[in-house]
């Protein structure tokens, strides 16, 4: 079996417009890949397409998770296969408490026996790492949450569900320094555990700052629906210094 989250020549169309024009990338178990690029380059489209959003039409290519083809599966089947998306704008579900939602989600994805007492202990530990008030648990999912609270709730779900592969879609956007540190601490705490160390991450971001908390093993730069450059952690520093324009020039120069 071929391990990893492997995307090969993936082409995606949204509302009759081709957005992704042949994406190739890999996320290895236990590793962190970063996907960077300017606004509108197609990063979130990749996240939604991999998760199975019905509005994202796959026009070519494939995406496999540890050898299992994801394309064509319903979103819940992909979650059960081990894929998790931390949403940039998570939906509110009024009337459904955070505690019930997370417990049911964990049961759906990972139907192993988790006694209530053990679940409680687990969730309280994660809440503490994320610097979240336990009162969160009785609130309705994302209902009336601030931007920062929504992101923390995504991280809490990630920590409880413990997927094989996690896509973090601009989890850092709109976060203050403390919240960003809490996100980094939560992911790093997971990666330090036996059950969490095998999770592979795809971190989608504009800014290198989240990578200071969660160091990437590999960085891909996306522009106009293509991955135009791949490199090591030093690529993040280059973007910090020079912005995307320099890379755009490089790519244009290469083509010309």
């Amino acid at each position: 079996m071929e391990s990893g989250l492997r995307v090969s020549d993936l082409r995606v169309r949204v509302a009759n417009t081709d957005i992704l024009k042949g994406i190739d990338l890999r996320v290895e178990p236990g590793k962190v890949a970063a996907l960077m690029g300017p606004n509108g380059s197609g990063k979130s489209t990749l996240a939604f397409a991999l998760t199975g959003h019905p509005n994202y039409e796959i026009t070519g290519g494939s995406a496999t998770l540890d050898g299992e083809e994801l394309i064509g599966l319903a979103p819940d089947k992909r979650a059960k296969a081990g894929l998790f998306l931390s949403f940039q704008y998570p939906a509110a579900i009024p009337g459904v408490s955070v505690a019930n939602f997370i417990r049911s989600a964990r049961q759906a994805v990972n139907p192993t026996d988790l006694p209530p007492a053990k679940f409680r202990k687990m969730i309280f530990e994660k809440l503490e790492t994320l610097d979240m008030d336990p009162a969160f648990l009785s609130r309705y999912v994302n209902d009336g949450f601030s931007g920062g609270e929504k992101k923390r709730l995504e991280m809490l779900q990630l920590a409880i569900i413990n997927p094989k592969y996690a896509i973090l879609d601009e989890t850092d956007s709109g976060l203050d320094v403390d919240a960003l540190r809490a996100v980094g601490d939560s992911v790093n705490a997971m990666r330090a555990t036996d059950e969490g160390k095998q999770t592979g991450y795809l971190i989608i971001t504009h800014y290198p700052r989240i990578l200071a908390h969660i160091p990437a093993d590999v960085i891909h730069i996306m522009m106009d629906g293509r991955i135009v450059k791949t490199g090591g952690p030093e690529l993040a520093n280059q973007i910090e210094r020079e912005g995307y324009d320099r890379i755009r020039e490089e790519v244009a120069g290469g083509v010309a």
Partner: protein, 429 residues
């Protein structure tokens, strides 16, 4: 009165069957003259309008001649208990026959009996409420509950008495139509919770019920209704309350059964500090029709009303809700809130929602809001991305939609009961 088994069966709503009801159950709460007058009013009041595209249910096809109003009761019916806690007092009426059981140690001053007994044993208390709270002259089908009344529940909680466990009142129709008539008088400073259950089985087919509640000053009354009549039943209910100074009445209605359910709620806040909270939930499936009306009148100032209606409809179901709040000229400083949300789960379902405020006073706080919508695809996708199947996601989100109203049902046991009953009905098509 002879023995029940020798009694003739009475078929159809007519003068003969009125005699049969009296012969079988006695005059009870209403004299022959009163019953005849009520039945005359039924005929005088205009027939329901003809069906239209917006309202397909055709009441003119209701076969009055085939409604059985008197017959030997069938076997006892088991209905699902609400949680593990025994009610303080259980009133069960099977067809026209009443049985009351009391848990040990319940305050003897609390009276729960048939309406007929109440009339003979406590004529003053009976007369204080019965027929005085509901406006029968404008309600065609409510007149039937007087004309053909049998059994009926009378609940009297005297001044200064509090009951922690609920009183359960079940109206069960096994072999004949039921005409539930409940009269509740709660004395000053008393507290009680009543759960009314409607269980008309297939052979009962038709119910028309009345509830009249008077909450004396500082009383605290919770009145819950679970309607689980047979899917083919025709159900009419009229519930009215008068709320006096600083008293609170909490109505919570959950309707699940019947082909047609017509609920009318009418509340008068007659003294300062009076408060009404009401919650109604239903989830219409198949070809069910729900016709809900609520009318709250703020007669004096410093009174409060808070109404929440949450409904869903799927398949070819239809529903309408008319919510009216009236704040009279003298009712300064009143607060009124009316919230009505509809979830449409299929293309063929239809719900019309008409909230209305009539405000004659200055200096009031009034809010009303109504929404009609479908499940949001983005919400469903979000839940599915967490491992919930489409069905699970839709059910969870739909149940969440009801939660603000479910939260108003008294106690965990009732809330769980309502959630579970709703869960079987909400599914997008």
């Amino acid at each position: 009165m002879g023995s029940l088994s020798t009694m003739p069966e009475a078929l159809g709503l007519g003068a003969d069957s009125l005699d049969a009801v009296i012969e079988r159950y006695g005059e009870g709460a209403f004299t022959r003259t009163e019953r005849t007058a009520a039945f005359d009013r039924f005929h005088e009041l205009p027939a329901p309008p003809k069906p239209s595209r917006n309202w397909k249910h055709d009441l003119s096809r209701l076969d009055l001649a085939n409604i059985v109003v008197a017959r030997d009761p069938g076997a006892a019916v088991d209905f699902r208990a609400i949680g593990a806690n025994e009610p303080a007092i259980c009133f069960v009426q099977t067809d026209g026959v009443v049985a009351v059981t009391r848990a040990p140690g319940i305050d003897e001053r609390i009276r729960v009996c048939s309406l007929g007994e109440a009339k003979s044993d406590h004529p003053d208390l009976f007369a204080q409420v019965t027929g005085r709270v509901h406006a029968f002259d404008r309600d065609k089908f409510a007149t039937l509950a007087q004309a053909f009344q049998s059994g009926g529940a009378f609940v009297y909680v005297p001044e200064g008495v509090s009951l922690d466990r609920p009183i359960e009142i079940a109206y069960v129709g096994t072999r004949c139509a039921i005409f539930p008539y409940t009269v509740v008088l709660v004395g000053a400073g008393s507290r009680v919770s009543i759960v009314e259950r409607l269980v008309a089985k297939a052979d009962a087919g038709f119910t028309s019920g009345i509830t009249e509640v008077v909450a004396e000053p500082n009383a605290d009354v919770t009145y819950t209704v679970l309607q689980e009549n047979d899917a083919h039943a025709t159900t009419f209910n009229a519930r009215s309350a008068i709320v006096r100074a600083n008293a609170v009445v909490r109505f919570a209605f959950a309707d699940f059964g019947s082909a047609l359910t017509t609920n009318k709620l009418s509340v008068k806040l007659v003294e300062r500090g009076a408060r009404i909270e009401s919650a109604q939930v239903f989830s219409a499936t198949g070809n069910q029709h729900y016709d809900l009306t609520s009318q709250v009148e703020h007669v004096v100032g410093d009174t409060t009303s808070d109404t929440v209606v949450k409904s869903a409809a799927t398949d070819e179901a239809q529903a309408r809700y008319l919510g009216n709040i009236r704040i009279d000229k003298a009712a300064h400083g009143s607060q009124a809130s009316l919230r009505d949300d509809v979830l449409l789960l299929s293309k063929g379902a239809r719900v019309d929602s008409i909230p209305a405020l009539e405000i004659a006073a200055n200096d009031v706080q009034a809010f009303h809001g109504a929404t009609v919508g479908a499940l949001d695809d983005e919400h469903v996708f979000y839940a599915m991305s967490r491992g919930f199947s489409r069905e699970e996601a839709e059910r969870m989100i739909a149940l969440g939609f009801f939660e603000p109203a479910i939260a108003r049902f008294a106690g965990n046991d009732l809330r769980t009961y309502v959630r579970e009953a709703l869960a079987t009905t909400v599914q997008a098509k």
